[in-house]
Structure formats: structure tokens, C-alpha cells
């Protein structure tokens, strides 16, 4: 019961902060509201039983990626004397309509898709894995056994991204 109340509390915070992120004119305010969304999502991950993903969400997303965004906003001096960057009313109507259609489609999929998945019965499997390996090992063991190729490709991607970011952000190229 408490878990459900906490879930709805953090879900409300996440949606509110996401709306504020989209509607604030100041990029710094947008970034800080997005950090709020990430913290609420980390709490929801923890409530859903994904403790390691919740920690990683705070460390990597709220800690590293958003600090990178804020650094770039400050480096380009966009925090003051920012120009209003909303599109015209027609675009706002298009955006509202598009997101409503998307929401309706996704909600329909949610309503239709879940009962078939519930029949799979993997809850005990996940609980057994967490009990055997711990919260980190339950993710780490399949990552290093079943997803080795993907892991190596991700490492290569990160290397390429770092080199590319340095090359792009250098003065002359």
C-alpha cells in the first residue's frame, strides 16, 4: 500500500517536472527540471525492484549527463539573455495533437499487451536470480555471459564518441 502511494507520488513528480521542463523558457531551468524527472524516475526504478538501475540512473543521468548539459549551457552563456524559442501557435497545436495521438496509441498498446506477458511467469525467475547473485550480479552475470558482443560494441561506441566529441569541439578541424 505504501509502495503504491510512493509510486503515484513519484509518478506525479515525474510528469510535473517533465511538463515544467518543456514549458520553461530558460535552458538552465529546463535542465534542472529534467534532473527532477530523473530523480523521480530513479525512485520509481527502485520501487519496481531495479535497485542497480536506480543507482545508475542517479549516477550517470542526473550526475554525469545533466552536468554535461549544464556545462555546455554555461560555456555558451545561454543562461541569461536567452531568446524565447517556442514555435508559433500552429506548431503548439500540432505538438499537442501529435502527443495526444501518441499517448492514445501507447495507452491502447498498454491495455492490450500486458495480459499476454503476465502469462509468461518470469517473476520467480528474476527473484531467484536476484537471490542468487545479488542486485548487481543479477544484471552483471547475463551482461558478461549472454551480451558479451553487445558489451564490447558499447565500449567501442563510447571510445568513438569520446574521440569524436574531442575532435568536434576542438578549435580548428
Amino acid at each position: 500500500m505504501l509502495t503504491q502511494a510512493l509510486f503515484y507520488f513519484f509518478a506525479g513528480i515525474a510528469v510535473l517536472a517533465a511538463l515544467m521542463m518543456v514549458t520553461r523558457r530558460n535552458p538552465v531551468a529546463s535542465a534542472l527540471w529534467l534532473v527532477g524527472t530523473f530523480f523521480a524516475l530513479a525512485a520509481i526504478y527502485t520501487l519496481l525492484g531495479a535497485f542497480f538501475i536506480g543507482i545508475i540512473q542517479i549516477l550517470v543521468y542526473a550526475g554525469a549527463i545533466m552536468v554535461l548539459f549544464l556545462f555546455v549551457i554555461m560555456l555558451l552563456n545561454l543562461g541569461n539573455a536567452f531568446e524565447p524559442d517556442f514555435r508559433s501557435t500552429v506548431w503548439k497545436v500540432v505538438a499537442g495533437g501529435a502527443s495526444l495521438v501518441l499517448l492514445a496509441l501507447l495507452a491502447r498498446m498498454v491495455g492490450a499487451g500486458v495480459p499476454t506477458l503476465a502469462a509468461e511467469g518470469g517473476v520467480d525467475l528474476v527473484a531467484a536470480q536476484v537471490a542468487e547473485y545479488g542486485a548487481v550480479g543479477a544484471i552483471g552475470v547475463p551482461m558478461f555471459l549472454d551480451y558479451v558482443v553487445q558489451l564490447q560494441v558499447t565500449g567501442l561506441l563510447l571510445l568513438v564518441a569520446v574521440v569524436g566529441a574531442v575532435v568536434l569541439a576542438k578549435r580548428k578541424f
Binding site: V15, L41, V60, V126, I139, M143, G164
Partner: protein
């Protein structure tokens, strides 16, 4: 036990808000933040389904976070180099190669 439908519906709401932000805003950095929000909505769906469909969902969330970090680094570097050229991060300056 949490309501799975509520988590998936929250994921849909966050994804729709991110889509609306991408359509409405013109500041390239805010666009990036909206895309990060959409990635997080997809992550939430993966995590919410992982107790039913197996632990693999959480492994994939880990990969999504790694790819999002790489994307943010490269994308912000591109924004910096465009800002040097045009003195602005408005995406109307990004349309030189469009047609």
C-alpha cells in the same frame, strides 16, 4: 506489488511529453533534453516489464544509458561547433544541408 499498467502508462505519458517538446522548442539543447526524456520513458517501460519478461530488460536499460551518454557527448560537441559558426543554438541555423 506495483500496478504494471500504471508504470507503462507513466512511460507513455513521459514519451508523449518528450515528443511535444521536440516539436515545440527550437533551442537545440532543450531538444536534446527532450530526447533524453523520451529515452528515459523507454527505459521505464523496459524496467517495468523486466519482472515479467526476465532480467534481460534491465541489461538493455544499461546499454541504453551507455548509448545515451555517448549520444549526449557527440551531440553537445556538434552544438558547440555550430554555436562557434552561427553564434546561436537555434535549430534554424542547422538547416543548411536540408534541401
Amino acid at each position: 506489488m506495483l500496478p504494471l499498467n500504471a508504470a507503462l502508462f507513466l512511460s507513455a505519458i513521459l514519451f508523449a511529453i518528450g515528443t511535444a517538446g521536440v516539436v515545440v522548442r527550437r533551442n537545440a539543447i532543450v531538444l536534446f533534453m527532450c530526447i533524453e526524456l523520451m529515452l528515459n520513458a523507454a527505459n521505464l517501460a523496459f524496467v517495468a516489464l523486466s519482472p515479467l519478461a526476465g532480467i534481460d530488460g534491465q541489461v538493455i536499460v544499461f546499454f541504453v544509458i551507455a548509448v545515451a551518454a555517448a549520444e549526449a557527448a557527440v551531440g553537445l560537441a556538434i552544438i558547440i561547433s555550430v554555436f562557434r559558426h552561427a553564434e546561436s543554438v537555434d535549430i534554424r541555423n542547422f538547416s543548411l544541408l536540408r534541401w
